[in-house]
């Protein structure tokens, strides 16, 4: 039941899944559950039984409210209203599930969020007595209503730190105890599930003085999924079709808007290659990193993947062999040319480990197939050639 993007990225839970975790730690969430069809929506609305319900599109993107992804309904018209939501495109994400919840009687909105602090090597907690908008917006508009504190993970979170946060954020005295408890619970969730980010926004105070997590985010560190088994089970592939195909093969691929395909080894080298194309006036079609020590099969699979993008007019393969062997890269390319139907030109730059062997393999191949491949000496030269071939 869940999502994920690229290798090394975090696994994002849907709102309804995050809320289930919050609830298991004793944080109040609105009555309701997720539905997968209009009939299902109708059923949940009847179960809830309150006058009004909220239909919330479950899509992993911010700003769905403004994009029409959240709709008020009641037990009578919830099914029909949900029909308009199901299948709708919200900022590139298709609505396939809707969280149906009781409508809360909101008196006040607040904010609580926890994430990593990479500069201080800690865990930063943000609290605000104002909520319902992005934390960046809160920080800009209400700088004196925010409490911020970086917790040293060695010592964990102590009560005095939570108190300092609450005083700093100006949390009203009557809600001090409740917000205190929620921060402690959210921190425990962050640690227990090895999160990279968790957020309750808005943290709603109803008119009868109760606190609810009205919306929730929980992103888990991908690298920890091997031991976060519950979370790993929720994992599902997302992204574009090509990105999913890449991930299933262990290739680090991000689709971009341009027409010059890029294959390189190393993330920095891949980005630098993209940047060079841009400097020469071209536009890269993708980021693709074959990593260190790639096999010829991986190289072939990468080429296959890239040319599936119809925008791609030329591919620039830029390899600096360290652990990666140039001869294996060359073999992979020859395999790709021989076994895949591809008629777009390829610019190739090979340097480093086994460079000579690699060039020899390529030159042998080029003798028989002269027009497909352009062997260059430097990455700067390669970028220039690729832009020339790809046009703008």
């Amino acid at each position: 039941m869940l999502i994920d993007n690229k290798k090394g990225d975090s696994m994002k839970l849907y709102e309804y899944q995050a809320k289930q975790v919050f609830s298991s730690y004793g944080i109040k969430i609105p009555n309701g559950r997720v539905a997968f069809s209009p009939e299902d929506v109708d059923e949940v609305a009847k179960e809830i039984g309150s006058q009004e319900v909220v239909l919330k599109s479950q899509v992993l993107v911010g700003g769905r409210g403004k994009a029409g992804g959240i709709v008020m309904a009641n037990a009578g018209d919830s099914a029909s209203k949900s029909r308009e939501l199901f299948g709708k495109d919200i900022k590139g994400f298709k609505v396939e599930r809707i969280l149906v919840e009781e409508r809360l009687d909101i008196a006040k909105e607040m904010y609580v969020g926890i994430t990593l602090d990479r500069e201080k090597k800690g865990i930063v907690i943000l609290v605000s007595s104002v909520g319902g908008m992005d934390i960046e917006e809160i920080a800009a508009k209400y700088p004196d209503k925010i409490g911020k504190k970086t917790v040293n993970p060695v010592w964990s979170l102590w009560d005095y730190q939570v108190r300092e946060l609450l005083y700093e954020a100006g949390i009203p005295k009557e809600h001090f105890r409740d917000v205190f408890a929620i921060i402690k619970k959210l921190y425990n969730i962050f640690i227990r599930y090895e999160a990279e980010l968790t957020e309750i926004n808005p943290l709603v105070i109803t008119s009868d003085g109760k606190l609810y997590a009205a919306d929730g985010r929980l992103n888990i560190d991908d690298n920890a999924l091997y031991r976060q088994k519950e979370m790993a089970e929720l994992r599902e592939l997302t992204g574009s079709e090509l990105e999913r195909a890449a991930e299933s093969k262990g290739i680090n691929y991000v689709k971009l808007d341009g027409n010059i395909g890029v294959i390189a080894n190393g993330a920095g080298m891949s980005m630098a290659t993209m940047d060079l194309i841009y400097l020469e006036g071209g536009k890269p079609a993708n980021f693709l990193d074959i990593g260190g020590g790639a096999s010829s099969d991986l190289v072939k699979a990468s080429m296959e993947l890239i040319i599936k993008d119809p925008n791609v007019k030329v591919v620039f393969v830029n390899i600096f062999g360290g652990i990666t062997r140039c001869d294996l890269v060359a073999e992979g390319l020859v395999k790709a040319f021989s076994e895949i139907e591809m008629d777009i030109p390829v610019v190739l730059r090979l340097a480093g480990t086994n460079e000579e062997e690699g060039r020899r393999i390529i030159e042998n191949y080029m003798e028989k197939n002269p027009n497909k491949l352009f062997l260059v000496k430097t990455m700067e030269e390669g970028a220039k050639k690729a832009v020339e071939l790809g046009g703008v």
Partner: protein
Amino acid sequence: MAIIADENTKVIVQGITGYQGSFHTERMLKYGTKIVAGVTPGKAGTEVHGVPVYNTVKQAVNETGANASVIFVPPAFAADAVFEAVDAGIEVVVCITEGIPVHDELKMYWRAKQDDVILIGPNCPGVISPGKSHLGIMPADIFKEGNVGIVSRSGTLTYQIAYNISNLGLGQSTVVGIGGDRIIGSDFIDILRMYEKDDQTEIVVLVGEIGGIDEENAAEFISTEMSKPVVGYIAGITAPPGKRMGHAGAIIEGGKGTAESKIKALEKAGVEVGKTPMEVAEIVRAKLGQS
């Protein structure tokens, strides 16, 4: 003199009996690195490429007087390996392992810091002081001994730039790959501070990329604390926000960490930033020619 590692550094390899550990031990030995021991629990008494294997780092240190370690163990065991090295009195820990949970990386960072241990990485290519010692997985042949210090968040890009520098007839004092993860043991400032003090280093190349504000912090440090010239390179001008570019750290989030911001900060600190790896090497040559 070089920084972090030199010809006197006595190195152990943690995870020496694994595929990666064994492969790179052989390469490091060939380069001349003084690898005095390996550690793999349960494998004491065996040898890998002639290097004796111990069950624990403590035993290895007691027997050989090692003061540095290169870690190749799988991600699930990496934090434990760092803790073991620190506890045994190792002074420099180079953690090659990729894919370590970030909550473990936090613990590793603080454990090393508490005992004043230099932790390089994780998820990094290591450290090389050309002609002296190599602790890592770099293609050692492309480096030449010289007076250019390099510090970088990116592996292959480092080799490219070092290669360009070497091809111009120059060489490197030390090359440090600090790693691409969000939480790393040593950041740009830690390494810049060492280069500033190092007799052998006359100029420093800083290779950054999108994500975080480490380059911006480094710029601040350079403008106030560095007397030696620094040349920069930043990858990721064309990277779109919200998409992670391979490294766990390489992502533009909430408008922070763009290449533009980093280049601007560096230039403001007097750092000349090259547009291509080749250009970086040429700037280095020009600056050394002046001095």
